[in-house]
């Protein structure tokens, strides 16, 4: 049976397992560079860079494959993309020349108001059309392959599509890859009471290029994707399941808060590498 994976995704090299670059981890990352396959950087940090930031970026780019991760472009903005913002992130991404780059299926601003974080979109076909138009605009400025991340949310705005259908429509219509955040999926499945495996079976899993894994915390009965703890057991199980279903090109351990000793992060990297190394031979099933 022919693969459903688009040829441009098939051609992408496998990067292995890396971590999200954070300033607090900088020295440790450089000294442990042989154990980290690639880094994900926050694109906005290097927009309008100081000389120090330019030097840092140049040095990082020499040592590691870098994957730029965009936080605030607001792809779902119905009033269109901010051209200045777009110009600034494009200058960083085009300078890095990455194998791919990533953004979110979300909104972070409307008009002149910045929400400050990723917010969910109404799951309608009208929204699909708008986000695909915005992606088309952004692809004209940035030629490198774009992959889109599923977000976690505490509330929804409804719509005629399910979350899986919404993701599928956007990813396939815009011909993007998927950055599957397994903690986001797990948090949503807990907060909205559904089975994450069924979710995985309904999204275009063959378009998964990269994964994010990390842990969060519980607050007021809500599981928050705070990037503040090691991935929980269920996230590792989901990783094994995805690895058994499709060829993953890269995994990022996305630790932001409550940073542990660096060795602990490296332990998680090793664990993810072990799972990646078994790709194709895994037979995972969930009752």
């Amino acid at each position: 049976m022919p693969s459903l994976t688009p040829s441009w995704i098939q051609k992408l090299p496998s990067l292995g397992v890396g971590i999200g670059f954070r300033k607090a981890l900088k020295q440790k990352i450089f000294t442990s560079h042989t154990q980290i396959d690639f880094l994900e950087i926050i694109t906005e940090h290097y927009a309008q860079p100081s000389f120090g930031q330019l030097q840092e970026l140049t040095r990082l780019n020499k040592i590691f494959p870098l994957i730029p991760h965009v936080l605030g472009s607001s792809l779902g903005n119905a009033s269109g993309l901010n051209p200045q913002y777009l110009k600034e992130i494009a200058s960083v991404i085009n300078a890095i020349k990455p194998l791919w780059w990533s953004d979110h299926i979300a909104i972070t601003s409307t008009g002149n108001l910045d929400i400050g974080h990723l917010a969910p979109l109404p799951r309608t076909m009208e929204m699909v059309k708008i986000i695909c138009e915005n992606i088309s605009t952004i692809k004209k400025k940035i030629k490198y392959p774009l992959i889109l991340e599923n977000i976690s949310f505490t509330h929804t705005l409804g719509g005629e599509l399910t979350e899986e259908e919404f993701i599928k429509e956007i990813i396939e219509r815009s011909d993007c890859g998927l950055l599957l955040d397994l903690m986001n999926l797990y948090a949503n499945s807990q907060n909205f009471h559904y089975d994450p495996i069924e979710f995985l079976d309904r999204i275009p899993i063959e378009r998964v290029v990269q994964l994010h894994i990390i842990g969060g915390h519980w607050e007021e009965g809500i599981l928050v994707d705070s990037h503040s703890s090691a991935p929980p057991a269920r996230v590792w199980e989901l990783l094994e399941y995805v690895a058994s279903r499709t060829k993953i090109k890269g995994i990022i351990i996305e630790w932001d808060e409550n940073l542990p000793a660096f060795d602990r992060i490296l332990t998680e990297v090793k664990r993810a590498k072990k799972i990646l190394s078994k790709q194709g031979t895994l037979k995972v099933s969930f009752a």
Binding site: S50, A95, S109, G116, T154
Partner: protein, 210 residues
């Protein structure tokens, strides 16, 4: 247009507790204020007020935690008091753009200065000190388009030749604070007999002319 209105309203609900209260009191009035049509009103019926409040609170604490990197000492000593003021401040100003975190920190500093009748003096003094280098850095970076000068090493060598090594820190210090660079650039301005206000242009001149 209709989705645009829906997004404007949902953003207002995320950012303003007054809007959330008004929404809770009478959703239709708020929806009409944003010219929502019936289908959009239907969509918003899915919004759970408690979850919405949770999300709004998380946005504020996220912003608060992000600015901590610019004011670590003030955070350490006055965290509780800062959080109290920040909640009020966050309702009145929302930063935007790629450099929004530093803009947010500076703006919060300004807010505390203006609201100083109920802010302790030691807090305003400490935050002022901590934000001073960032303020200069932010303004200079905004105005001088330094990022366009990407051949850092080349400029360093050339600038060192021209100014007898005095510009070394400007280019090589990985966290080049403007006050450090100012200390080195001011004698150069004096030597060249340029007015103080031309510091930005001198900096540009040095950055682009080699």
């Amino acid at each position: 247009m209709s989705l645009q209105s829906l997004q404007e309203l949902s953003t207002a609900l995320y950012l303003s507790s007054a809007e959330r209260e008004a929404w809770k009191r009478n959703a239709d009035v708020t929806a009409n204020k944003y010219s929502l049509d019936n289908s959009d009103k239907e969509l918003l019926k899915n919004l759970n007020p408690e979850r919405l409040r949770f999300y709004a609170d998380s946005l504020k604490s996220k912003r608060f935690n992000e600015i901590a990197q610019f004011i670590p000492e003030t955070m350490k000593k006055f965290r509780a008091e800062l959080w109290q003021h920040f909640q009020e401040y966050a309702e009145s100003y929302v930063p935007i753009g790629c450099k929004k975190v530093v803009a947010d920190s500076l703006s919060f500093g300004e807010f505390l200065k203006v609201a100083n009748t109920h802010v302790s003096n030691s807090l305003t003094e400490l935050i002022k000190q901590e934000l001073a280098p960032w303020r200069m850095n932010f303004l200079l970076e905004k105005q001088s388009n330094l990022y366009k000068a990407s051949k850092t090493t080349f400029y360093t060598i050339q600038a060192n030749r021209y100014l007898g090594g005095k510009t070394k820190i400007i280019f090589l210090n990985s966290e080049s604070r403007p006050f450090v660079f100012s200390a080195y650039i001011h004698p150069a301005i004096f030597f060249l007999k340029l007015p103080f206000s031309s510091v930005i242009y001198t900096w540009r001149f040095i950055a682009i002319s080699f």
